[in-house]
Amino acid sequence: MINLGCNKILIRFFLTSLILLLFVEKSFSIEPNVFIQSTVNRASAALSESFTKEEKIKKLKNIAKETVDIRGIGLYTIGKYKKSMSNKEMSVYLHLFEKYFLKTFADRLSEYTNPKVSVNDSQKLNENYTIVSSILVATKKRAEIKIDWRVYTKDPQNLVIRDLIIEGLSLARTQKEEFNSIIQSNNGDINALFNNLRKFLNN
């Protein structure tokens, strides 16, 4: 009888834990379009008129660090050259790339004030990627702009952005082709890219 009571308690404990685990997982995973809408809402708030340009840049950099896979984009951007890079070179590159990314990202966006982005549908490409479609709402000065977001979904609890596709033009691909051009123009010397990145960061 005692054993039977123990078993019942164990079964109840096991079932309750299982339900809790399922619930907890459900509550932390987030749909890619909800993740993007939440991210653009945060960015829009950071671009409010009440902040100075410096404050906007600081806030945008923090949002990017939390929501963008800067390391993943860096690895994509260096392309075929990553195979021939030493660990030390890769470490230098990723460090420089993060600084470069945050500088250009914040600089590009800080010019906008109170942008309104409406997130529409999403298309799952595979287990790793979903493309979320959105529209940067038109203003008196410019027409509406179509923005697609490549969301890395491998870890559903930790979604991150890997690319922005503006009117069909991929920012990551543009960056990759620019980096490759710099390296190629310098006979495949990766240090030429490092020098260019340092020069850009110092300006």
């Binding site: 994509y76 600089d107 590009r108 410019r142 027409a143 697609d148 691909r173 620019e178 710099i182």
Partner: protein, 260 residues
């Protein structure tokens, strides 16, 4: 029939030009091949020249154009957009897109008459929506002809061997607007009308993109490479005639990242 023969001849020439610039490898027969920059040194030189021209002439004019009252800018944009149908419609046909060919023909007829030479766009209100522009370069791409070498043309800017051949096809009878203004003496139009419409189209485009260009230049370490990448991506998108970004994305590089 004559136009088709001319296009076929030009396509053949394009194949030769691509072979000449690719170490014997014919990229035209393959899809998703990176476009080679066969004349990079020369292209960079022309790019720098165009940039200088832009700084001194086009950007200041575009900034002035922006200050014009909105109805004038809208009217100018409508007129050049309406004229572009004269290239778009034959290309809709050549691509077998009869739906858009009909829609754009109706747009041109309505806007040129009721819309007073294209100044207004009553066709949109009548349900004939504005669709994407088409040109002979896009048609060649749609027919499976590869881009060939990347080239930068003086004043006109980025292009490819295929797109340059497409532009040539327009000048050899494929553009009705060019035919009635420059090519043939119709007594109704002058050469000036054609060049003025082309210049207005260019200035209108430049005026809409002043901040985007400035921002791109400011945030690029190699502005030439960035412009080249964006131009080629834009052409891929236009040739695919797809509104969905997912149809033109190449995922292989992203997937490769998973295996590292």
């Amino acid at each position: 029939m004559k136009k088709i023969l001319v296009l076929l001849l030009l396509s053949t020439l394009l194949s030769f030009s691509a072979n000449a610039g690719t170490d014997g490898e014919n990229s035209l027969s393959k899809k998703n091949q990176p476009v080679k920059d066969c004349f990079e040194g020369l292209n960079r030189g022309i790019f720098a020249f165009n940039k200088g021209l832009d700084n001194v002439i086009f950007e200041p004019i575009a900034k002035g154009y922006r200050k014009l009252p909105m109805p004038i800018k809208l009217g100018a944009n409508n007129v050049v957009s309406n004229l572009s149908n004269l290239i778009t419609v034959p290309n809709n046909f050549l691509q077998g897109d009869m739906g858009n060919a009909g829609n754009n023909t109706a747009r041109f007829a309505i806007n040129s008459t009721v819309g007073i030479l294209g100044l207004w766009d009553p066709a949109s209100r009548l349900g004939f929506e504005k669709e994407g522009k088409e040109d002979y370069g896009q048609t060649l791409g749609k027919w499976g002809i590869g881009a060939g070498c990347y080239v930068v043309l003086p004043v006109l800017g980025p292009s490819t061997a295929r797109d340059a051949v497409g532009s040539l096809a327009a000048l050899m009878g494929g553009d009705a607007w060019y035919n009635v203004t420059v090519r043939n003496n119709t007594h109704y139009f002058r050469d000036f009308d054609y060049y003025a419409s082309r210049a207005t189209s260019g200035i209108d485009f430049r005026a809409k993109n002043i901040e985007s260009f400035d921002n791109l230049e400011k945030n690029s370490m190699d502005f030439y490479a960035s412009v080249k990448s964006l131009y080629l991506q834009d052409r891929e998108k236009k040739i695919s005639n797809s509104k969905k970004a997912t149809n033109t994305l190449d995922d292989s590089d992203w997937e490769e990242l998973e295996t590292k």
